[in-house]
Amino acid sequence: MTPSRMFRLALVIALVVAAVIFSRRCGAPQSEADAVPQNGGTLVATYRTEPTHFNRLVEARPMARLTALLTQATLLRVDPNTGALVPRLATEWTGTPDGLTWTVTLRRGICFSDGTAFTASDVLFTFQAIYDERVKSPLALDMRAKGQSFQLRAIDDHHIVLTFPSPFGQGLAILDSVPILPRHKLQAALDAGTFRDAWSASANLSDMAGLGPFMLQAYAPAQHLRFVRNPHFWRTDATGQKLPYLDELEVQIVPEQNAELLRLQSGTSDLTNGGARAEDLAMLRDAETAGRVTLVDVGPAIDVSTLWFNLTPGSKAVADKPWLAQEAFRRAISHAVNRQAIVDTVHLGAAAVVYGPVSPGHGDWFVPDLGATPFDLARARTLLTSLGLQDRNGDGVLDDASNRPVEFSLLTQSGHTERERTSTLVGEQLRQVGIKVNVVPMDQRVVQARYASGDYEGIYYGAQANSKDPTGSRAFWLSNGPMHFWNPNQPTAGSEWEGRIDALMLQLAETMDHAERKRQFTEAQQLLADHVPALWFAAPHVSVPMSMRVGGATPTVIQPPVLWNAEELFVLGPRR
């Protein structure tokens, strides 16, 4: 081969290699680190539940919350990662030294998505709707101090004064959960008493308007919700570029977790409903290595599944099996359950052992080893014997004084792998101390219906937490709360210790000093641990998977983990 032919050949090879490299760089998403946010593009998220309502003031379910996050705006936001208050519709706020009265300055010159100007009257209207008895807003319970409503008045179109009737511990952070609704769209419905029906899932979407980054353009039941950019959205980024970056955000309804993961893996979706299951992590890590997804560990979950018994006085469970109501029995179970085995087997090590509802994910509200009951079968057997529970017929199952076997049914959510597996494992572990557990996996709605009617003995289930602050879970801690699992909706506290927890939680709601709030909450946790009304085993680590196309994401442990800052998300590259 002559030198000139060799040179030509080398030139051709070099050109081909350069073309391949160039084409790959053009096609591949840019890395997040060197990415400059670009306007335009669409991201696809998947969600597991169907919306039943688009108005957050009348619906507390996750989909209503998501819709409110995307289409509405609040006066301010609590940054889920830092806990700091971030201005939104309010640009600044000044309070009196006692923290009771706050003058809030509203953002000027901004409009709802239909072009109507935003004024203080919209804020007053929103609170009027929350406190309206006919609306029965799930937010109303939280928007009270010592049972009294907050007072609001407008100084002018851009200033309001908010007065707490008594000291309110959460302070202005409570405003993070209140989307400001358009008075011009909903006042008539509120006056007519039809506010609950307005903006239902079957409503005309053109009747909706909001101050959020997106507008709900289309909803196809069991298929998707399509959100498009709100041209009137008021926020800009640090460089002055208008937000949101995305043209469109599609939320597909995919009830099944495997299907959700498949869509992410195949590149047809970019975001999932929440954290990945422990068993999927290895696969997702491989996909991350192959450059198909990115996986972000956001730490321990704040919503820990709970095992509780029906301790409602007069319930059939307590009447038939009085030992369920004995603290020693529940403590024996706590000692008989090997929590580390649950962490290792069910969560494949990606979880933390917990003994209460507060996990390490709650930050400094968590007190390590508070109420710890180490795995100790001998101690468990001693406690059971002290209750007169012994194996009288040699069948391996304990019997009570009436010679009835010590067994109970444990309902759990079928299809929820973590809950099903934990229930089964707990049942196997309790068999070692002679307690027979009949695990009954059932449809989620059936479990909820049984809980509501009190027709059960034990349940292993959980509720979604939307805040790290304990006041955000008052429905659990207060004895009159609907999520006070073991004995909900008590007219007055049924026991001295529950009364003490009620008092502590009410004090906590009124206390401004964080150190004092922490002391109060620690005492409440200790009381709970002392009386073992329910059991907690493991708080899973939450790893959030996303496609490589998603830029600007700062995932958090609070739902929704990525879409909470949807306006700052942008597209890094074309879909594979």
Binding site: T417, V440, V446
Partner: protein, 329 residues
């Protein structure tokens, strides 16, 4: 081929019957540090030469990635007929996992073998019940015609359009929260027979209605045979159809068994059943990192194939009904 298929079915039946002796471990016992453990390999040879069959102890290397390696430091010989088990190993060396372990570290082979008893029992009895009921009602409707035919067909259509899941939820609500595996077995069997008979009845009715217009049927009637007597002459024409229906019903009912567990009607998580195992194997992870969880699907495939081979061979050509134009004695 038919004999081989029949032998396979007999073997499966034998294994299911002898499950307590064949399974190396209890089916509901979770083994710590064995979640998603892969099947153990049997060795005959190592660096020291040939030996009696042995395995190596499994060692967990990475929990989250579910990586296990064989510990080659010591051979673990298989023990035959020890402690009432056909094959086992020294308990100190960990569990013997022929088919690997499930998500809770339970012996998949044991669960498969024990599960065959309940699942095949429910599916076979449910299918037999559906065939019996469907064949009887279909034959009555097809041979009599008129109002009785209309009535049976309407009832069959009504059952077909019933929202079965809601029916099951209502039925479940009438029973205590905890039902024993035996009660679940019989309830499911009855439910399957009730749900599946209309399809069978409609097919049999069509065949019998066609057959009753043929000459041989007219001849039987001319000889003075009554309605039931005529029916016994017409029904054999549907044998091929019934065989194929039986083969098709078995996998459908096995899958239905797992669906019922979603509404609390199944055998429950700790009791092994093929439907429950299939449910475990449908996770994406199973196909990706733990393909042994799909073994129940393979077992189901073998059962259906064997059934189809046996039934198809008897019907002449699998999937067809008997030749109704052939001369009859």
């Amino acid at each position: 081929m038919r004999r081989a298929a029949a032998a396979v079915l007999c073997a499966i039946l034998l294994v299911a019957t002898a499950a307590p002796w064949i399974a190396s471990n209890p089916p509901d016992l979770p083994f710590g540090d064995r979640a998603f453990a892969p099947p153990m390999r049997v060795h005959l040879h190592d660096t020291d030469g040939w030996h009696a069959p042995f395995v190596y102890r499994q060692r967990l290397v990475n929990r989250i990635d579910r990586t296990y390696v064989e510990d080659h430091t010591a051979r673990v010989p298989l023990r035959w007929w020890t402690n009432g088990r056909l094959v086992s190993i020294d308990p100190g060396a960990g569990p013997l996992l022929w088919c690997g372990a499930d998500a809770l570290g339970r012996d998949l082979c044991a669960r498969l073998v024990y599960g065959a008893r309940l699942s095949l029992g429910v599916a076979v009895l449910g299918a037999c019940g559906a065939l019996l009921l469907g064949a009887l009602l279909g034959a009555v409707a097809g041979s009599s015609g008129g109002r009785l035919d209309t009535l049976i067909t309407t009832v069959a259509d009504f059952v077909l359009v019933l929202p079965i899941v809601y029916l099951v939820i209502v039925l479940r609500a009438t029973r205590p929260l905890v039902i024993s595996p035996a009660e679940a077995f019989w309830l499911m069997t009855i439910l399957f027979a009730f749900v599946a008979w209309p399809d069978v009845a409609r097919g049999v009715r069509s065949i019998v209605a066609t057959e009753r217009t043929r000459d041989y049927a007219a001849a039987v009637r001319a000889l003075g045979a009554g309605r039931w007597r005529v029916m016994t002459h017409l029904l054999p024409a549907a044998y091929g159809f019934l065989r194929i229906e039986f083969v098709l019903l078995i996998p459908a009912l096995l899958a239905a068994e797992s669906t019922l567990s979603f509404v609390g009607f199944g055998f429950g998580g700790a009791t092994p059943s093929w439907g429950g195992l299939l449910k475990d194997g449908e996770a994406l992870t199973a196909m990706y990192a733990a393909p042994w969880l799909l073994l129940p699907a393979a077992a189901l495939f073998v059962v259906v194939l064997a059934l189809q081979t046996v039934a198809g061979a008897r019907a002449g050509v699998a999937g067809s009904v008997v030749d109704t134009t052939a001369p009859r004695r």
